[in-house]
């Protein structure tokens, strides 16, 4: 069983209140960090090997060390709690049940970065979580952990919660900053990066909820201890949101490096596929990452067991691998239709495109139309090449990575499930009433009893 660094106390009654959280060792990292220098804190985070948990996996310590520090200019820490990537629901879970962990991490991180005002940008749909965070902030402030002269150290910090207005694109960090400035969520052209010119043109760090929360155990136990967990450059623990057709959907904290087979089939985690069905495909890191058929997902192309780590999941590149992304794990059983799912995701990206770049705005629209006709039995054999062609023309040609995020799921679905797409063309009428099924993808499947 893996160690729980973030969720250890999640089931303690009242852990959402300051007093109970404190009685379980909460806010110790603030006491410790305020006795360190900001540079020492950044150093610990570097040593921990923590990589951003929002999707891109960029080393957090390095990001912090890039922050510009011009004299007399405010610096900001903004927490990205926009969590809109389909398949991902870990941040909402963390904020709902253990909000003080995020507040604690925000205080330590703000101190390390020299921020005197910090914001948690929460997607507007999470009004209940916004209330929860505001209550937690008020509690922490009443106890002297926020506001003026924190714990008598002379450090001042104000922490505010900002609601979004419903837009996936505001998860992209520069769109988020635009939104926080009260504007439409149009991503900015980079450079300049937020570390140089972010919120209000000032140096800014944007970090995911889970990244900020992970700073707490890193400071408490030291970066080196944290780095002992995991495998290779995938250090520490990771929250995985498990959904789709698994027996036990939910948020799990795993040690990075856990074999995917164990994650999927052991009772400690997903408990296998629901209703005794077989696994057909997996989206391992949220809707933006390539979808893999079960056989490619369980083992790498070299026939080694695949692990839940940044490196192992991407082993084989886009030919036979995928990505860790934000840890939004979606399992598809034998009854699911890949064409329908691809159409649904593409509809999502088309809907969520901010519209600034023509390849993204128009390309997602065209892909949606073509996928719609394939799903509804009016497709053509040339459609698959057409889709790949459009996806290639989006990829790499846009201001922000939403374009890539829209292109990859389509390209990978056609790469791995072309026969299912073709069947939709050759069996147009039938495809509207039944699904293609499992074909050869599920092979080989592990036997649950072997795993005990």
């Amino acid at each position: 069983m893996g160690r729980k660094l973030l969720l250890e106390h999640i089931n303690v009654p009242g852990i959402n209140t300051f007093d109970v959280y404190r009685s379980k060792g909460g806010y110790a990292s603030v006491e410790k960090a305020l006795k360190m220098t900001p540079e020492e804190i950044v150093e610990e985070v570097k040593k921990s090997g923590l990589r951003g948990r929002g999707g891109a996996g960029f080393p957090t310590g390095m990001k912090w060390s890039f922050l510009a520090k011009p004299e007399g200019v405010a610096r900001y820490l903004v927490c990205n709690a926009d969590e809109s990537e389909p398949g991902t629901f870990k941040d909402r879970y963390l904020m709902t049940y253990i909000p003080h962990l995020l507040i604690e991490g925000m205080i330590v991180a703000s101190f390390a970065l020299g921020a005197k005002t910090s914001y948690i940008y929460v997607r507007g749909e999470m009004m209940p979580q916004i209330r929860i965070l505001e209550r937690a902030i008020a509690e922490a402030k009443a106890k002297g952990f926020l506001g003026k002269n924190i714990l008598g150290t002379g450090y001042d910090l104000e922490l505010y919660v900002q609601p979004g207005g419903g837009a996936y694109i505001c998860g992209e960090e520069t769109a988020l900053l635009e939104s926080l400035e009260g504007k439409r969520g149009n991503p900015r052209i980079k450079p300049p990066f937020p570390a140089i010119a972010g919120l209000y043109g000032c140096p800014t760090v944007v970090n995911n909820v889970e990244s900020i929360a992970a700073v707490v155990p890193i400071i408490n136990e030291g970066g080196e201890e944290y780095a002992k967990i995991g495998i290779g450059r995938s250090t520490g623990t990771k929250l995985i949101s498990a959904g789709g057709n698994v027996k036990k959907p939910g948020v799990y904290e795993i040690d990075l490096g856990l074999p995917v087979e164990e994650f999927l089939y052991s009772d400690e985690y997903c408990g296998g596929i629901a209703n005794g069905k077989r696994l057909k495909a997996v989206v391992a890191g949220g809707s933006s990452v390539p979808i893999l058929p079960a056989n490619l997902f369980m083992k790498t192309i070299n026939n080694e067991p695949r692990l839940m780590s940044y490196e192992s999941l991407s082993d084989g590149g886009f030919v036979s691998g995928t990505m860790m992304g934000s840890g939004g794990f979606i399992a598809y059983d034998e009854d699911q239709c890949i064409v329908r799912n691809t159409w649904n995701f593409t509809r999502f990206y088309h809907h969520e495109s901010c519209g600034q770049c023509s390849p993204c705005r128009e390309g997602t629209g065209w892909m949606e139309k073509v996928l719609h006709r394939l799903e509804h039995g009016h497709g053509r054999m040339s459609d698959m090449d057409l889709l790949v062609d459009v996806s290639k023309k989006i990829e790499g040609n846009t201001i922000c990575p939403l374009g890539d995020a829209a292109a990859w799921p389509v390209a990978s679905a056609i790469r791995h499930f072309r026969d299912e797409f073709e069947w939709h063309v050759t069996h147009g009428a039938e495809a509207t009433v039944r699904n293609f099924g499992l074909a050869h993808y599920a092979d080989p499947l592990p036997k649950p009893e072997v795993l005990a």
Binding site: S84, M126, M127, G164, G166, A167, E181, P249, I330, F348
Partner: protein, 173 residues
């Protein structure tokens, strides 16, 4: 889309609403009061059930920005309702992972139960419904939310949806 006929509706901001607006602008540095726009539009919608052109003009005046700066934001973000809707707007997640566990059936069932198409209001003015994108609750799908508190209802079934609608119908306030 903003509709011309809605521009005729004028609204009066309550003292509580104005207080909340004044409080919101204190969260940002001097001169950056425009940052309060998204939170303020949520307050406005919670008070009136939608965001009318007249309300937006008042928000613009309050924040000392141009009305167009408010319109462009209100039309960009999906949560802001730009026309009067039912008292309860059932917002059902229609994205992939919820689709895998039956979101389509739930939306069909809501449509049948309420007897109105997506975006329309029931004749008693109580309900509207619409499909929305992933609500970060994918493991507990299908899900729907109801503003202005954005309460979540998870693991929906046809009967749980019927019960929910029935309960809301009976609710008096």
């Amino acid at each position: 889309m903003l509709r011309v006929e809605d521009a005729q509706v004028s609204v009066e901001f309550s003292p509580e609403l104005l207080n909340k607006m004044a409080d919101a602008v204190t969260r940002y540095p001097e001169g950056k009061q425009k940052s309060a726009l998204l939170p303020i539009l949520h307050y406005v919608q919670a008070e009136f059930g939608w965001v009318s052109p007249n309300a937006m003009d008042q928000v613009a005046a309050f924040l000392k920005i141009q009305p167009i700066e408010v319109y462009e934001v209100a039309t960009f973000y999906t949560m802001y309702l730009l026309k009067p809707s039912g008292k309860y707007v059932l917002e059902v997640c229609r994205t992939g992972p919820c689709g895998v566990v039956g979101a389509d059936k739930i939306m069909d069932h809501i449509e049948k139960t309420l007897g109105v198409a997506e975006g329309e209001v029931t004749t008693d003015g109580l309900f509207s419904w619409r499909g929305v994108e992933c609500l970060a609750a994918c493991g507990f799908g299908p899900v729907l939310q109801i503003g202005p508190e954005y309460t979540f209802y998870e693991n929906l079934t046809e009967s749980s949806v019927e019960k929910l609608i029935g309960d809301l119908r009976k609710k008096k306030d």
